[in-house]
């Protein structure tokens, strides 16, 4: 039996640094521990500023920290890339869109990250 990746791995990364939720909230510049708790329990998604602060604190990319969410978004983008690719190929100006077509093929054939969240 197997399960999907978790939405995020913030709690594990915070515990590895021996930080309390209050201390992490201070580093992130957010209101307090309850907000960090909501991020860790997948009840809330952070803003762009907070996301970049997470990267600065944990020295990991957002796609590593939010592996499950990243994977979900990546699958949505791949599906949209395929639709857009079909639309462009069906259009009259397809010869002038070679670079776009190549980019869409690259996006829709990318192998999703499946690595572990180890540092």
């Amino acid at each position: 039996m197997a399960s999907a990746q978790l939405s995020n791995y913030l709690r594990a990364n915070r515990k590895r640094l021996d930080l309390t939720q209050d201390e992490l909230a201070f580093l992130l510049g957010v209101e307090g521990a309850p907000k960090v708790c909501r991020y860790e329990t997948f009840a809330r998604e952070p803003s762009l500023r907070t996301l970049l602060a997470f990267e600065a604190v944990f020295q990991k990319t957002p796609s590593e920290l939010f592996a499950g969410l990243y994977r979900e978004i990546q699958m949505e983008v791949i599906a949209r890339a395929k639709i857009l690719s079909r639309r462009i190929n069906a259009g009259k100006r397809q010869l002038h869109r070679a670079r776009t077509s190549q980019a869409l093929v690259r996006i829709s054939t990318v192998q999703p990250k499946t690595g572990s969240n180890r540092p």
């Binding site: 039996m1 197997a2 399960s3 999907a4 990746q5 978790l6 791995y9 709690r11 594990a12 515990k15 590895r16 021996d18 329990t41 997948f42 994977r71 699958m75 791949i78 829709s108 054939t109 990318v110 192998q111 999703p112 499946t114 572990s116 969240n117 180890r118 540092p119």
Partner: protein, 172 residues
């Protein structure tokens, strides 16, 4: 390219004690996703089950692992044995497989045919997962000391790691 979501095996190990329980969630072979001790007071078994249910809901484990309290020479209290049965019932209710590991099976994983103490297992785990566990390793217990509460974490991680390294008794 496959459209399927990548699959991970995630185990939830529960190590009950007099104060509450230690827990560990191990993803894959070496990634500890969460670990810690939860304390419960009054109506301990019901509250422990409620907290275990929260962990199951949050982490969606693929398997639950606990110690086999029926195996000899296990000398756990009646309350802990009843709690073990309640965790088995919870796993069954959630449709999760549960694995029971005996005291000997856990020691065999870490020491082979030799023998070792609980503290030695904790030291092995702290060396294997230094970022997660080294700072939580309690000092060696003296005869006059009661067990450090942090040892519950190592008991739980030990169960999760032992599960990865061998094929134990599996309940339907």
């Amino acid at each position: 390219m496959s459209k399927k979501t990548p699959k991970f095996s995630r185990s939830l190990a529960i190590a009950p004690s007099t104060r509450g329980f230690g827990y560990a969630i191990l993803e894959g072979d070496t990634t500890l996703v969460d670990w810690g001790v939860k304390t419960v007071k009054a109506d301990k078994n019901a509250r422990t089950i409620a907290k275990v249910r929260q962990l199951v809901t949050k982490y969606e484990p693929t398997v639950i692992v606990i110690q086999d309290y029926a195996a000899k020479p296990c000398r756990r209290s009646d309350r802990i044995r009843a709690l073990g049965a309640a965790i088995i019932a919870l796993a069954s209710e959630c449709g999760l497989p549960i694995v029971l590991l005996s005291h000997q099976q856990i020691r065999k994983v870490f020491f082979g045919d030799g023998d070792g103490t609980k503290h030695e297992i904790a030291k092995i785990l702290a060396a294997r997962l230094p970022e997660e566990l080294a700072s939580r390793l309690p000092p060696k217990r003296k005869l006059w000391m009661s067990q450090d509460y942090r040892m519950d974490i190592f008991d739980a991680v030990g169960l999760a790691v032992a599960l990865r390294m061998q094929r134990p008794k599996r309940m339907p």
